[in-house]
Symmetry: C2
Subunit: 219 residues, 2 copies
């Protein structure tokens, strides 16, 4: 990894055109070749960048980075204040925990928390356009497709609606209900869901996890 602090101008031309006037910035070149230009603010996103794979031509006071898609990043260096290289080695990688999959797992174990009498038929039930998160059966024997999201937004309603349109063509399933389950459901998603005849449930992750722990504690 090469770490450079310099007064520079930057020009990008590719998916859009962008220009950065002369200012002091941090420029990083990672081992895989990707280039980042950071200012002293603005969260984790660089002002400009070029992802790997790419070609970097280092002309000293000017770097030209291009990629196969015809994008081009040009950095002109006016004054360099720091230029150092370090070998970081391979990163052992990130261990993540607690996203949508976890919510899906918890609901799969306790579908009854969504609705009295609801029972799981199977997780990741396949359709031609992708798997339905949970396929269940309600107390009256009707099939229920459940889409699980961390946050319920319009996209989630559309996704479930597409699944339903396929499930409803399968006569063996009979009538199919749709439920969008999320920790939070946006008002517009509620409006669209109502419009499409899709139900929605707000589920509490902490409560579910609590129930899960309690269940584990019994064994």
């Amino acid at each position: 990894m090469r770490i450079v602090v310099a007064d520079c101008t930057v020009d990008y031309r590719g998916r859009l055109a962008a220009h950065l006037p002369l200012a002091r910035r941090l420029v990083i070149v990672k081992a895989d070749g990707c280039v980042l230009v950071h200012a002293d603010g603005g969260a984790y996103k660089p002002l400009n960048w070029m992802t790997a794979p790419n070609d970097l031509v280092d002309e000293g006071d000017r770097w030209i980075v291009t990629n196969a898609k015809g994008e081009r990043l040009e950095i002109r260096f006016h004054e360099v204040h720091l230029d150092t290289s370090v070998d970081l080695g391979e990163d052992p990688g990130l261990v993540k925990d607690g996203v949508e999959l976890e919510l899906q797992r918890l609901l799969a174990e306790r579908p009854g928390t969504l609705e009295e009498g609801l029972e799981l038929i199977r997780r990741e039930y396949p359709t031609p356009i992708g798997p339905v998160d949970l396929l269940c059966r309600d107390a009256e024997g009707r099939v229920v497709a459940v889409e699980v999201k961390r946050r319920g937004e319009i996209d989630g309603v559309e996704q479930l609606d597409r699944y339903l349109s396929f499930l409803r063509r399968d006569e063996r399933l009979g009538e199919v209900r749709g439920i969008l389950a999320a920790q939070e459901i946006k008002p517009q998603a509620q409006v669209l869901a109502a419009d499409r005849g899709i139900e929605w449930r707000v589920v509490d992750y902490e409560t579910l996890r609590g129930i899960d722990s309690d269940v584990l504690r019994l064994f």
Copy 2:
């Protein structure tokens, strides 16, 4: 901006839980307080981060960063290889050019480039599920909803379809046509648009901008 290269472990607990085993990494603290932990690969996204505003407690071999939402990032330093601070100053900011808004503005000024006789009723016409980019009237007096995208994909077709379903319930508007306008329209979006009775137009940004410049030159 503080730039640190060190062997460290990192733990994040907040919207999810994540752990980074001991390895050499680049740690950056920006002037606004946001903290980034970068490995030597993986494009522009840090392995871990905490956006501003936050509180950083520097205990020397351990940093604890917390924010108002109860998220917490802890970095334990084992060996520090570089620790330097530089003042970058305020960044003059990015000059962008060529995004959707610009395309929308250009089309709003010259709706006739989409279709002979098309006239603008209003930009950002509100519906219960969001604003339609351009609401126009065609040569025969019919209302036309135009969705503008840089790249026309399935999402754009569905978005327009949702708007149309609401617009068509408003009897005052009468028959409503839908047009997806983009610099490029994916085959699958064309198929879906045809299926939904939605028209599409490929628009050339450079040409539009040229016309725009010509118009300006007349005055």
